[in-house]
Amino acid sequence: MNYSSYIALIPLLPLAGFLMLGMGGKDRFKGSAGGIGTFLLLISAALAAYTAYQYFFVNGKIQDVYQPVTALKFTWLSFSENLSIDMGIVLDPISVMMLVVVTFVSLMVHIFSLGYMKGEERFSTYYSFLGLFTFSMLGLVIASNIFQIYIFWELVGVSSYLLIGFYYKRPAAVAAAKKAFIVTRFADLGFLIGILVLGLNGGSLDFNTLVERLTDPQSPQLVDMTATSFLGISVITWALTLVFIGGAGKSAMFPLHVWLPDAMEGPTPVSALIHAATMVVAGVYLVARLFPIFYFNHLALQIVTWVGALSAVIAAIIACTQTDIKRVLAYSTMSQIGYMMFALGVSGYGGEAGLGYTASMFHLFTHAFFKSLLFLGAGAVIHLVHSNEIKDMGGLQKLMPVTHFTFLIACLAIAGIPPFAGFFSKEEILLAASLHHPIIYYIALVTSGITAFYMFRLYFSIFWHKKTDKEKQPHGEGTVSMKIPLILLGAGTLLAGFIPFSSLVTTDGIPYHSEFHLSFSLLPVALGIIGIATAYILYFRQNDRPQRISSTLGGLYQLAYKKFYIDEIYLFITKKIIFNLVGKPAAWFDRHIVDGCINGIATVTASISSAIKGIQSGKVQQYALYFFGGILTLAILFIYLWT
């Protein structure tokens, strides 16, 4: 059956919403903007669900193997004699899964924002930006071609810039938006060069063609890319590593994660959309897209593994010390994405060996539910107490029963307690790691204990800790539109774990049956429970134990609290070194030498000697000197030294 007729609508509907609300200006759709945006996305989500049903259960399988389906394809332009750029839509298990995730979470955020953003001055602008973001993210997901993915990749960056900076009157938000944009753009330059290397050496930009050519050891392209090397590392490894740098930037992997915590300055539902389920997993998605090529390149895969594992553990430690609830969630996201990343890194290829790949995608799927639930829950809490700080919260369990209950579910899920979704996916990741990479397995195990601890630290501090103080919180939990998404996502978190993922998403499209090992699960679950218990002791009631511990740990605590000083290092490099050493002298030179000549020499001498003679003589001579110097340097370089 022909997919193309309606699949293109899935991204185009949010785009239509963006154009309509964006063109309408601030006032035309003031009342109805939310309704319009939500309605369009509802259709989009329904179409995505239908597509998934069609693909997974009706006609995606050919002879028991899930085949990639090209729903739409045309040659956009032919760049040179041997390189043309196609555009198209590709459907395969991961893109279909992502379609569902993105549209569903986006829909939830649209609904939640109806209540949360109500009364905002730029309400319709907000919905138009949401539409633009959803469009770009969907476009990224279904791209059949690495250049196409790059276009949408950048668009996602632009729209997240707009969304993070939505509260543009707050300087912190503006700075955070800029930081996110520039850091990810910096990472994207790796991606860009990676694309150029892959495209020019692989002779194609199409994913399927690239995968075909670069996984076949006999293909001339792969032979060539393995044989030629730069700085002792083969070209193919360079290409993959560069592409991965782009992915690591978007997915906030260490050390390119500095933008993520700051990005929490955006509206909270936006964080639920961008920083939980969609944009930040783009890097994981990209590696998964090219996974077969990565698999055949040991070094690149090792980099993926270690960056993922390091990010997972570092972020978890930092999360234990943060006091802004959104920042805790931000670091937790980074940590969980680290899991997905190293799960890809430890994965094999084909059949059950590809467990890591399946587990990674599975975790991406379940994480989307519980993390956006956590963010939306945090949004509801912030809506109530008007603060992001843990110290302003406590004892909220009676005031907001729905939020409390769903938040608890999500915390249990992320802590890996059965039967919640996070348990299943995390178990698979741990299993894959234990089979292929013991060191990583232990890192992951420890991290999962820490995860349980900091999540319950958050939970107890928000909802228990103090006595309920009803008088301080005059208004209730929030509108119905804010509760519905919480409940739906909570249901998702309860049920998503039971989806037999290994029969849907595998490295080679061949479904298999993954076994459940009770004995294996005991240890991680036990660690999770220990983490929760510790959090209970420390944070359930008000006491001074946390203080004591942090003062005992002293320097170590400070180190984690200050996020290992990574931000400071970046600041040092950009502000101190680049600005002071290069930018300032350049500007100084311009202002004093170049301008100074005009202002100083010109005004003084002009009054003395005749206008023409005086104004510029010293100056232009200097220009001529540089000009001549340039010629001489070129001549010396290329006539005497070069040949």
Binding site: W76, L77, S78, F79, S80, E81, L83, I85, F147, I151, F152, E154, L155, V158, G165, Y168, K169, V174, K178, F181, I182, R185, F186, L189, L192, I193, L196, V197, G199, L200, F230, V582, G583, K584, A586, A587, D590, V594, I598, A602, I612, I615, Q616, K619, V620, Q622, Y623, A624, Y626, F627, G629, G630, I631, L634, A635, L637, F638, I639, W642, T643
Partner: protein, 469 residues
């Protein structure tokens, strides 16, 4: 025979005819109001643009001194388009100017010079065209007659260009000394990498590098750009630069193909210097024109990457980029020009809170800057990507990395302007500006161009088709 003459030379002839019409208006007995004159001129320039697309033929004239082809006609049309846009944009500035007609006469003379330069098939012809396109420009830079900075700019420009022309001419005479001919075809056959040959090439490259303001031949740029009236600045930074790039591509590829190994590395050095210096200076500029001047220097570095590709993709991506650059840079300059002529304000800080009073103009400026920064879905993204793709074909990834780093750096300062427009406030922002219809048409052309050329592949495919025989 005579028919050939008229058809092959038709673009030059149309411009000349317009020049004469203007002259007749000028010396006409009755003085016309400036508004009507400007509208007539815009209409003429529009007809000139349309006429460029008719009767396109390839051939040569004047004993092989002059040649034309489909590609060359297309390039001239691009310049016509740019001139028309600038003319539309300068409406506010010129409507009160006493010498509006002279402005056009000078501008069209330079355009004529560029046409001859692009069509040249001989170094002497090239030189003639180059001079014709430079000297009136210096007079144009002086066109804010009462401002001292404007005359200063003109003065600097004429002296610097005289210097660079002198060296260029020296280079040409050396070439003649070696080969006994200045014809491109003859040079292409026999050009060798002898020291003298290389030296004369370097002189030629420096002379052209001066015009495109490649570092270290760029020093005149910022002063002249800042001092000259905004329309002249945009003319300098887009039209005159674009024309030189057309010439440079054909010279490097067709005439100096023999020494391509050497010029590749020279272009590499120039490009890297140009990108870095342009960006670092742009980073801290406060004056909008100076900021655009330095950022356009940085763009030159990118275009040089495309040139280094030495393939059909290389030349097509350069011409494609110039088309995009024309829309983007003129879009940005158009707004600056409008604001400057209405309020006299030119600093970035003056633009704070601009969105509050002029949302539409802010968007036009923002889209243009996004395109200059190379952010999708604007055309600038595709243009830059193609330049890099063409350049990367040579396998010099160090160069590409430097370029990509510079793209990030440039994003930093483009965002600074965007932030001033949309996110910052001041007590007395620039008041609402009524643009009037002719600058509005220019804005529509620019924004339309920025969106359409990027997303639809037709533009690139069309340009690329000239190079595939």
């Amino acid at each position: 025979m005579i028919k050939d003459f008229f058809i092959l030379l038709k673009q030059e002839l149309t411009v000349t005819i317009i020049l004469f019409i203007l002259l007749f208006i000028k010396i006409g007995v009755k003085e016309m109001p400036a508004r009507i004159v400007l509208n007539i001129i815009n209409a003429l320039l529009f007809l000139n643009l349309l006429a460029g697309f008719l009767f396109i033929r390839a051939g040569s004239l004047f004993g092989d001194m002059f040649q034309t082809s489909e590609l060359i006609s297309f390039e001239k049309n691009l310049l016509n388009l740019g001139t028309l846009i600038i003319s539309l944009q300068s409406y506010h500035w010129l409507k009160n100017h006493k010498h509006a007609l002279e402005f056009y006469m000078l501008m069209l003379s330079t355009l004529l010079g560029m046409f001859f330069m692009i069509s040249s098939n001989n170094l002497l012809m090239l030189y003639l065209g180059l001079e014709l396109s430079t000297i009136p420009l210096a007079a144009l830079a002086n066109f804010d007659l009462e401002k001292r900075r404007s005359s200063e700019a003109a003065f600097k420009m004429i002296i610097s260009s005289a210097f660079s022309s002198g060296l260029l001419l020296f280079g040409i005479s050396l070439v003649y000394g070696i080969h006994g001919s200045l014809n491109f075809a003859i040079l292409a056959q026999g050009y060798s990498a002898s020291p003298l040959g290389l030296f004369s090439f370097i002189l030629l490259l420096a002379g052209l590098g001066f015009k495109i303001s490649a570092v270290p031949f760029h020093l005149w740029t910022a002063d002249v750009y800042e001092g000259a009236p905004v329309p002249v600045t945009s003319y300098l930074s887009v039209i005159s630069k674009g024309a030189i790039f057309f010439v440079l591509v054909s010279l490097l590829y067709n005439v100096f193909g023999n020494i391509s190994d050497t010029w590749y590395h020279m272009v590499f050095v120039l490009s890297v210097l140009t990108m870095i210096v342009g960006n670092l200076f742009a980073l801290r500029q406060q004056n909008m024109k100076r900021f655009l001047a330095y950022s356009s220097i940085a763009q030159v570095g990118f275009i040089l990457i495309g040139i280094s590709g030495q393939s059909s993709a290389g030349s097509s991506s350069v011409i494609f980029f110039i088309l995009i650059y024309l829309f983007s840079n003129l879009g940005a300059f158009g707004i600056v020009s409008l604001v400057s002529s209405v309020t006299g304000k030119e600093d970035i800080d003056d633009f704070r809170g601009f969105y509050q009073t002029n949302p539409l103009l802010s968007w036009v400026l923002a889209i243009s800057l996004f395109s200059l920064a190379g952010i999708p879905p604007t055309a600038g993204f595709f243009g830059k990507f193609f330049l890099l793709l063409a350049g990367a074909g040579k396998g010099n990834y160090i160069w590409i990395t430097i370029a990509a780093l510079n793209m990030v750096l440039s994003l930093y300062y483009y965002l600074r302007v965007i932030r001033a427009l949309f996110m910052e406030k001041q007590e007395q922002p620039i008041p609402k500006i009524n643009a009037g219809w002719s600058p509005k048409i220019a804005m529509i052309i620019c924004v339309g161009g920025i969106i359409v050329t990027g997303l639809f592949s037709g533009g690139y495919t069309y340009i690329h088709s000239f190079f595939i025989k």
